[in-house]
């Protein structure tokens, strides 16, 4: 029997492999090498088991046999790529290493140190070093040492606390222990999730280190120094904080603190706030000591004065105050340094710094004046008032200009249809990437345009696009893909099949490709019964929710497909001519005239969408073009869109188009009732003792849109429209009936949302109502996709010029208190845009925020932070609008104060001050009187009411 057969039999029969391996010589190992690779692959393959489940072919013992053989035969690279890591343990290698140690073993183990999981414990690793198989690797030691004092009991699987393990080898405490301070390890979390058999208390590593320092086994001085140093390194936040905690756990004496002052100052460079906050607290005791290092502290204090943590800024100012009191010669420098706190848009911090400067600064000092002046624009009025002695002669006017309104028509960016076939080829290959939202519209339009150029050569050029479409349909869903992308891909491959039927010879490559993907799908199905065949055409396409929201897009693609089937060279009407979705009316007139001449009736949905996307531009020129090129109902409809008084005849063939045109013209928006409320609900909790679910009543805060009468909602527009256009008797399903967002759990809808908005860009409110209902019921997001849905919604709204209705207002106001900062910033941007363009009522936004906060739907701090960072001091116009917003908000809030009211009122006072306004709204005056009973608010309310 040859080597390979013998080994194959050992694996098959799970026999003892060691005698076989021991006798292998170099040549035999080489011989076994390729067979071993094949066997490894064979046994690792996932196969369906008898019970229908999937698992790999090999058993644990077969893997062991293969792994040991690989350890003996493989080179490092192959061993790393194999699954043989599992054989690297004390039990297996103890028998092998004395007679064989691969020359790559040390390198291999060093590399393992970079991996998440290492198969070594400290004891075994050190044994291997002592036996000469390995060289000590500091990183590996730092990684495995933390678990060394927590051995696990084999029987109970519980852990023991054995600090004495560290005493087994002298080198451990002399040298290895310090690697824990040099390399990031899981020292801080070493005892987490472990159940201990003994009664040792948590914090075992800290206790161990302190104990050995107290016993003189490790240097206390070095321990203190290394703790501070580790806290300042770029370790993760938990690790860095743990080392700071360790430093405090060691209870440094005042003398020690003074000794380590310079090291402590280094914590000011830390990326986390805890280390320097702890140090600032420690310095409170030291600062008055004669040994305190004043100059280095002043060198470093800037770092904490501009830090994110307000506690740190406040502590730093307090220390500066104490220093200024003692060191009179340093007062000017301290005052100048304190100015850096003015960078914070926080009234209290600014006041604290201003008081310090007023107390110790000399108003005549040019340097202090200069420092104040550079921050002056950023100062709140209270701080400004306090520093009036220093600011004499400053230019007090804060120059805020109102944004110049951009000319919206000049902003329009033209979208070009491919001019030649090559351009079409490059469009087709990127259409499924969503590089632009309008590529969805351009692809069918271009296919119609070039349908007569489908020669064999040209089809060959399109093959990469066909391949992408097939792959998109048959591969797994990707993160950026929407249902519309799958719809478009299916449309494209359907067209491929059409080409095969039209011209089998030229389209042969498409047929071959279709066949290969059909085969691939069949193979998948054969492997797994549950596999659903994904390959199908556009006609049967539907989204799993059966949402009507996708019908308009499908309708347009089917309309294009129908033209392609009939080889009719007419364009789609709704293809955008300007980004992101607008259709120039001049182009629409041209397109309609082509239909008129061909005597082909346009598709109803295509026409409706073309009408809602219509951009009038130069009206007289458009009217003249319509008169010249169109006649009958086409001309009447276009002139109606252009503002003239026309109405549909009784036998109209374009009822829906008239309806949407009429609706847009009269600027009607869809209104839904809404409420933010605290509601009762019941959730189920599992009781492990009785193994049953129980109903638990609870309360939650939600935003509810009233969709109670769905039928009424669907017909709401029709009722309004019937009034506008009296002649209309019956209306077919329109683009409004197809506005819907339907899902239980969001899957890929967010990737489609922009394109859904661009179906009806002038009336986004209906879709917004659905979005709030589905995605913003709770202002805190439960998943990344929920958040993306809202962000993409806000992005789409920012690109549209429309008149916001109640639902838009509700969306903007609710997003202002969202849990996500990006969402809040977007909401602020929509507010800024709305105020600039004068089409947003700031009071309404304020009222909604106030109503939300009357039940404390979300922390008020989110809103106040947003106002300060993104909505304050934009322009004079915005400052006035902000005042209205805050006035309405406060008026709407509850009589009982909530957290954050003080900050809200401080901002209100500041806004009133810069606007030179006074509170005149009775509701606000009453509210302030009620709130005024709260001690914390008295001062600021007095400031507001004067």
């Amino acid at each position: 029997m040859g080597i390979i057969e013998e080994f194959t039999s050992i694996v098959e029969k799970k026999k003892d492999v060691m005698p076989f391996l021991k006798k292998l010589d170099k040549g035999q190992k080489k011989e076994l090498y390729p067979a071993l690779k094949k066997l490894d692959k064979y046994y690792s393959e996932f196969v369906q088991q008898g019970n229908g489940s999937y698992s790999s072919r090999g058993t644990e013992s077969q893997y062991r046999i293969l792994g040991l053989a690989e350890f003996i035969c493989f080179n490092q690279k192959d061993f790393e790529q194999s699954t043989a890591l599992r054989v690297v343990n004390r039990e297996n290698l103890t028998d092998i290493l004395p007679w064989y140690c691969p020359d790559w073993f040390n390198d291999y183990v060093d590399k393992l140190a970079l991996k998440e999981f290492v198969p070594f414990d400290y004891d075994w690793y050190m044994d291997l070093i002592e036996q000469g198989y390995l060289q000590a690797n500091q990183l590996m030691i730092a990684k495995i040492l933390p678990a060394f004092i927590f051995p696990r009991q084999e029987k109970t699987w519980k852990f023991e606390y054995k600090p004495e393990n560290l005493l087994k080898r002298a080198v451990t405490l002399q040298e290895h222990i310090w690697y824990l301070f040099e390399f990031e390890s899981n020292l801080h979390a070493a005892e987490g999730y472990k159940k201990f058999e003994d009664d040792s208390a948590p914090g075992r590593w800290m206790y161990t280190l302190k104990r050995y320092a107290d016993e003189g086994k490790i240097s206390r001085e070095r321990l203190l120094k290394e703790s501070i140093s580790a806290a300042t390194k770029n370790f993760n936040q938990s690790a860095s904080n743990w080392f700071m905690d360790l430093f405090m756990f060691l209870e440094p004496t005042k003398a020690e603190l003074l000794y380590f002052q310079n090291d402590l100052l280094n914590t000011f460079n830390s990326a986390n706030s805890k280390p320097y906050n702890v140090v600032l607290k420690l310095f409170k005791e030291l600062v008055t000591d004669s040994g305190f290092v004043v100059a280095p502290f002043l060198d470093h204090v800037s770092l904490v004065l501009t830090a994110e943590s307000k506690t740190a800024v406040s502590s730093a100012l307090m220390l500066l105050d104490k220093l200024a009191k003692i060191y009179t010669g340093q007062r000017e420098q301290i005052c100048i340094l304190s100015c850096q706190a003015f960078i914070h848009q926080d009234n209290n911090l600014q006041l604290r710094a201003a008081k310090l400067i007023k107390k110790y600064g000399v108003p005549d000092s040019g340097d202090i004046k200069e420092a104040i002046q550079s921050y002056y624009d950023a100062l709140f009025s209270e701080a400004k008032n306090l520093l009036s002695d220093f600011s004499a002669g400053f230019d007090n006017r804060v120059v805020l200009t109102d944004d110049v309104l951009a000319d919206s028509s000049s902003d329009l960016v033209e979208i070009c249809l491919p001019e030649n076939f090559d351009e079409f080829v490059f469009l087709a290959s990127q259409s499924f990437d969503q590089n632009q939202t309008y590529h969805f519209d351009l692809l069918p339009a271009a296919m119609l345009k070039f349908q007569n150029e489908m020669t064999a050569d040209n089809i060959l050029k399109l093959m990469p696009a066909f391949q992408r479409a097939y792959k998109m349909i048959t591969n797994d869903w990707t993160i950026s893909m929407g249902y519309l992308d799958s719809m478009l891909a299916k449309f494209f491959i359907s067209y491929g099949q059409l080409l095969v039927s039209f011209n089998p010879i030229a389209a042969e490559p498409i047929r071959i490709m279709q066949q290969s993907f059909v085969k691939l799908e069949e193979e998948r199905k054969a492997k797994w019964d549950g596999y659903k065949i994904r390959l199908s055409g556009i006609k049967t396409w539907d989204v799993y929710t059966r949402s009507k929201g996708y019908k308009p897009h499908k309708h347009i693609l089917l309309s294009a497909f129908s033209l392609l089937e009939r080889k009719i060279s007419l364009p789609l009407l709704s293809t955008p001519t300007h980004a992101p979705c607008w259709v120039s009316i001049i182009v629409l007139i041209e397109r309609l005239s082509l239909y008129q001449r061909a005597d082909v009736m346009p598709d109803d949905m295509d026409l409706q969408i073309a009408v809602v996307r219509c951009h009038a531009g130069n009206v007289p020129a458009a009217i003249s073009a319509a008169n010249e090129n169109l006649k009958g109902e086409y001309r009447d409809l276009v002139r109606f869109i252009l503002g003239e008084d026309y109405r549909p005849q009784k036998n109209s063939r374009m009822k829906n188009a008239w309806l949407v045109a009429g609706n847009i013209k009269s600027d009607l928006s869809c209104e839904f009732a809404w409420n933010s409320l605290v509601e009762d609900y019941v959730f189920q909790e599992y009781d492990y003792k009785v193994r049953k679910y129980f109903d638990v009543p609870a309360k939650r805060k939600v935003i509810r849109i009233n969709f109670s009468d769905k039928q009424k909602k669907a017909s709401a527009f029709k009722t309004i429209l019937s009034k506008v256009l009296r002649s209309v008797e019956e209306v077919e399903p329109s683009v409004y009936d197809c506005t819907e967002l339907k899902f239980d759990y969001i899957s890929a809808e967010h990737n489609d949302i922009k394109r859904l908005f661009y179906l009806n860009p002038r009336q986004p409110d209906i879709l917004i109502a659905h979005i709030i209902h589905k995605g913003l019921r709770y202002v805190d997001f439960s998943s990344e996709n929920d958040k993306k849905l809202i962000i993409y919604t806000l992005e789409a709204l920012l690109t549209l010029n429309y008149h916001p209705g109640t639902m838009s207002d509700l969306l903007i106001a609710s997003c202002m208190i969202s849990s996500d900062r990006t969402v809040r910033t977007y909401a602020a941007e929509l507010w800024i845009k709305g105020i600039t363009e004068e089409n947003l009522d700031s009071s309404t936004i304020g009222k909604i925020v106030g109503k939300h906060e009357s039940i404390e739907l979300a922390p008020l701090k989110r809103f106040t932070d947003l106002v300060i960072s993104n909505m304050f001091q934009i322009s004079q116009k915005h400052n006035r609008a902000l005042e209205n917003l805050l006035t309405s908000c406060i008026a709407e809030m509850n009589d009982t104060t909530i957290n954050g009211c003080k900050k809200l009122l401080e901002i209100y006072a500041e806004v009133l001050s810069i606007n030179n306004s006074k509170v005149e709204d009775d509701r606000v005056i009453r509210k302030l009187n009620t709130w005024g009973t709260a001690e914390a608010l008295k001062k600021v309310i007095k400031r507001i009411t004067g």
């Binding site: 100059a295 501009t306 990127q430 990006t822």
Partner: protein, 446 residues
């Protein structure tokens, strides 16, 4: 090719404190050192505090990673330093190669001798970094890059070795980043207050969306909302790396790339300048962008490299025309030589001076040349005969390249280069040209 690189230092870098004056000794190592150069620079730092802060920030950049696991971070790569022409420049990348940082100590920032000019790795170890942060203002600190007293160390004696995985991304980044820099223009200049205010608007956490720098109510701010004239910054949290420098900064200048593929932030503190360049997004390194690929289409004659080496000294402004005139090269052929030379690691770029400067990366040229997978793929396509030119008229070229299961169409027309492959379709040339375009171009040129 070995996957690791071993830094060999005679001794560790350290800040040696003494009563009269401190010495910041930086140990150096280069695998392409032409001769045994003991010391590049020895002299006094005029503003040691600022220099120390900047070097610490550089070390923070070098230690940071925006897409790797923390364990890989432990393997600190050493920055490189270029000394010469009255300037000392330290350069480094984050582990993910998405953040480039450089500290330039300009003429007024030092007072000493450039004993030799050149580029080398310098040892950045933790104790030295800790010591750096203890440097105060008005201290007297000497900087020494390499050991001045030659003879203290004999060859191969007491060599300190540090083995780290070969910083492939670094080397690729160092050969690409100047392409981005040279296509960047200054758009904003902020004083300290404005800079601090701007950085206060950086959102917390690690935002996945792009942010845009815009001026609102006279104040600079970051907003997630795109507007026409705003500067695009992806992976904005990376900017926080330079936040500690702002408190001592005189000025902050912002240089966006022409097509917003990167942004460069320069902090000016006296005679020291800190440059931070961010790649387009946190998950994209400068290394993988293929910016240098175009420059590598034509093969580079070896004697050019020798010429440049003979002609230039470290930090010297690189002037292609002057080189051509001095060395008698054909002016037509020298076109785009800067691109080609920086792609093989011979040039860096100075935004303020608006020119390339000579610095030869301290890595073997063979390593540098083997690091462009797209170029290798393109060469493979050519070798396998998978590239065909269908037509070549005036400035329009149509090519066909065999892909997996399909034939890709490549059209080059003027500056417009297009391909039907997935990479190109997705990125539209923003991340460098694809292997198909590269192969067609190579076929035409060579």
């Amino acid at each position: 090719m070995s996957e690791t690189i071993t830094y060999q230092y005679h001794k560790c870098s350290a800040l040696n404190r003494s009563d009269s004056s401190d010495e910041l000794f930086l140990a150096k190592y280069s695998e392409v050192q032409k001769k045994n150069v003991p010391c590049f620079f020895w002299g006094r730092l005029t503003d040691p505090y600022t220099t120390a802060r900047c070097l610490l920030t550089l070390s923070n950049v070098v230690q940071s990673s925006f897409n790797l696991s923390p364990f890989q971070l432990a393997l600190l790569k050493d920055p490189i330093v270029t000394a010469g022409n009255e300037k000392i420049r330290f350069e480094g990348f984050s582990h993910c190669a998405g953040v480039y940082a450089r500290v330039d100590i300009l003429g007024d920032g030092h007072d000493g001798e450039f004993l030799e000019s050149g580029t080398t790795n310098v040892d950045f170890n933790q104790p030295m970094l800790s010591a750096l942060s203890s440097i105060r203002k008005n201290e007297n600190v000497l900087l020494s890059i390499g050991q001045k007293e030659f003879g203290l160390h004999r060859e191969n004696e007491n060599v300190i070795e540090r083995k780290v995985p070969l910083p492939v991304k670094w080397i690729k980044g160092l050969t690409s980043v100047q392409m981005f820099l040279s296509e960047s223009e200054k758009v904003h200049s902020f004083n300290r207050l404005q800079a601090l205010q701007l950085f206060k608007t950086i959102p917390t956490g690690k935002p996945k969306t792009d942010y845009y720098l815009l001026i609102r109510g006279g104040k600079p701010m970051f907003s997630p909302v795109k507007s026409n004239d705003a500067i695009t910054v992806g992976g904005i949290h990376r900017l926080k790396l330079i936040e500690p420098l702002l408190a001592i900064a005189d000025e902050l200048k912002v240089f966006p790339h022409a097509t917003m593929q990167s942004t460069t932030w320069q902090v000016y503190i006296g005679a020291v300048r800190f440059t931070l360049s961010l790649s387009r997004d946190a998950w994209r390194g400068f290394s993988g962008e293929g910016a240098a690929l175009d420059a590598l289409v034509e093969d580079i004659p070896d004697h050019w490299i020798t010429l440049v080496d003979n002609y230039s000294y470290a930090n010297q402004e690189f002037n292609a025309t002057l080189l051509a005139v001095n060395e008698g090269l054909d002016l037509k052929k020298i076109e785009n030589i800067t691109g080609r030379l920086s792609a093989i690691g011979l040039l860096g770029y100075d935004l303020d001076e608006n020119n390339f400067f000579y610095r030869r990366l301290p890595f073997k040229l063979s390593r540098i040349m083997s690091l462009n997978p797209r170029l290798k793929d393109a060469e493979k396509l050519l070798a396998e005969g998978k590239v065909k030119i269908i037509s070549h008229q005036d400035d329009k070229v149509e090519g066909q390249v065999e892909g997996t299961g399909v034939i890709h169409t490549v059209i080059l027309e003027g500056a417009k280069e297009q391909c039907t492959c997935t990479w190109f379709s997705k990125n539209q040339g923003e991340r460098g040209i694809c292997k198909h375009i590269l192969a067609v171009k190579k076929l035409i040129v060579n």
